[in-house]
């Protein structure tokens, strides 16, 4: 896959607007050709700035940006062969759909018949043919998004940059357009870099998820890795789906160690080769919410190979395929178990019930 030359490398990229604070602070990142990469983070974390620097709408203060092995800093978007799809699309409001899509060809000096021929082909691809003569304001959000995508893709760029492409759509449409983006990326076979603050959007789409915070990368890797094995507390909490417990390491002996916190003690934690633990050190661990089993007190207790915490149920939310059970087991932070729907209703829990939340020791994940 890939059309060649669409691999991107950021080396020590920083961006500062005032010389003191850094919107982007020392980013190193490699994105292979033809990959779908999502930059994920809260607003103001610098993800859009990175996108705009790759697009050539801003220059980095320091560092190199390489596309296809060549340093592109200072080149304009056309020379970079990148195209950007702007947040809320930035369609030309006074031009028809066809003229919007053909705009890049018009400024490249193509004749009317040539550029309309190509625009019509592109409109066919994204199912816009019947809207060719409409103005953007006469289109729905989803149609506008397709126009924006078509306008960006018409120049056959090697990298397509998408700034919050789905944020202007309602929930339902967002999930549909998500699939469309993914299909489009496979069809075009070019590198997509997609900026979003929605976790589910990122992990649903991306080959590589880059989690950012305050101008820095906190973790970059395949979606599953970022979701299932977060490197640190920030990533675990931002991506969600994890319970984070903080405490101090108790006894460490050979194959076992324990963790004690304000509301729990003697949680067994796995010992990993390469990460030595010392008695008394502070440690965060993460356990996936769907790895947790809830047992009533007074049963058989914690099964062998598992460990757990005790707490009271503080809330129950029905989610369809599973039930979200909230507990007061993690001190200040929330502790949540996702219980499969059928299992939950075999023995329904209600608010105030005291339960034992257990998980297999080796399912816990140590955070740096």
């Amino acid at each position: 896959m890939g059309t060649g030359n669409g691999d991107i490398e950021l080396a020590g990229v920083t961006k500062s607007y005032d010389g003191e604070t850094y919107a982007v602070d020392g980013i190193n990142l490699k994105i292979p050709d033809g990959a779908y990469c999502c930059l994920l983070g809260p607003s103001g974390c610098g993800k859009s700035t990175i996108l705009r620097m790759i697009a050539g709408h801003e220059d980095p203060t320091h560092g190199e940006i390489l596309i296809g092995g060549e340093d592109v800093v200072g080149l304009d978007p056309v020379q970079r062969r990148t195209a950007m799809m702007f947040q809320s699309y930035a369609l030309f409001p006074h031009l028809s759909v066809r003229d919007n899509i053909a705009f890049a060809l018009r400024v490249r000096g193509l004749s009317k018949t040539e550029r309309y021929g190509k625009a019509d082909e592109m409109m066919e691809k994204v199912h816009l043919t019947e809207f060719a003569n409409r103005l953007p304001s006469q289109l729905s959000g989803g149609q506008q998004q397709r126009v924006a995508l078509a306008r960006a893709a018409i120049t056959e760029p090697r990298v397509l940059l998408l700034d919050e492409p789905l944020s202007a759509l309602d929930e339902h449409l967002r999930i549909r357009m998500r699939a469309e983006l993914s299909r489009m990326q496979r069809d075009l076979g070019i590198t997509f870099i997609h900026v979003t603050h929605t976790q589910m959007e990122a992990i649903a789409l991306a080959d590589t998820v880059v989690v950012m915070d305050r101008g820095e990368i906190r973790q970059a890797g395949p979606a599953r890795e970022v979701y299932a094995s977060p490197n640190n507390r920030y990533v675990a909490e931002f991506i969600g789906g994890q319970n984070v417990l903080s405490g101090k390491v108790g006894d460490v002996n050979g194959s076992k160690a324990t963790l004690a916190g304000p509301t729990f003690s003697n949680i067994e934690i796995p010992l990993l080769a390469g990460t030595p633990l010392h008695s008394g050190q502070s440690l965060d661990i993460a356990i996936r919410r769907d790895d947790i089993d809830l047992l009533r007190l007074g049963g058989n207790g914690v099964p062998p190979g598992s460990t757990g915490v005790e707490g009271a149920v503080t809330g129950v939310e029905y989610q369809g395929t599973f039930v979200k059970v909230m507990m007061d087991a993690a001190g200040e932070g929330e502790f949540v178990a996702y219980v499969p729907e059928r299992r939950f209703f075999e023995d329904t829990l209600s608010v105030g019930d005291r339960v034992l939340a257990v998980w297999q020791i080796d399912h816990a994940h140590l955070l740096a």
Partner: protein
Amino acid sequence: MKLNRNAVGWLNVSPLLAVMVPFFIVPIIVVFIASIMQTDGFGGMFWDPSLENYSYIFKSDLTYRLYFETVKFAVLTLVFSAFIGFWVAHFLVFHVRSKLLAMGLFLVCTVPFWTSNIIRMISWIPLLGKEGLINRALIAMGAIQEPLEFLLYSDFAVVVAYVHQLTIFMIVPIFNSMARIDKRVVEAAVDAGASKFDIMRYIIVPMSKSGIALGAIFVVSIVMGDFFVVKVMSGGGTASVVGAFYEDIGVLQYPSAAASAIILTILVMLMVAAILRIVDIRKEITQ
């Protein structure tokens, strides 16, 4: 009480009607009636309806010369004020990064309008006159030997005064329509590979059209209906349409002045209609 839909409709337009009827429609009717009456030569008029006053105006060469002069001033003023207005607005919207500063500079544009029209116009005289600042400076620099005569009491001076007076009427609507251009739209054009010139002709000018048209309506209707600037700045050397019927009134020729006024009103309305024909302001604004 429930009003039927018709009554609600009339109530909605009543404020506009309350202004338009007494201040526009009634006077126009009065002027039209006067224009088909005859004069007794001493300021009195009597009812003997005919279009004689009109045919007299259309037969006179003077009419065509006057209209030519006035339309010439209108077009020249329009061209210069649109050019200056466009670039001032463009500077304020696209080059001044701070919104506050842009707003401040925009207000500075209106400072000259804190004094009266007449003072602003007359203040050109010491600048442009034979012994004026410009002539003396040029002579002192050795650029010219004799003072430049065309600076004052000439067509040039008339256009300068009009442009000075009316450019603000271009800046305001153009600024308004440009300020509504999303900066990301311009960025999207850059991303597509548009040069500065492309952005200007495909994005900024088309999207500022409604502002330019609104400004043009102001400028054209003001210049067409003015005689004072022409009178003062041309030094009496050039006449204007309104100037001519002002003189008619001076010699108590009310019916022919009224006929001229009706013709001028129709012409200005046609010019405004032509501007609106080129730019559909309603469509542009609702876009």
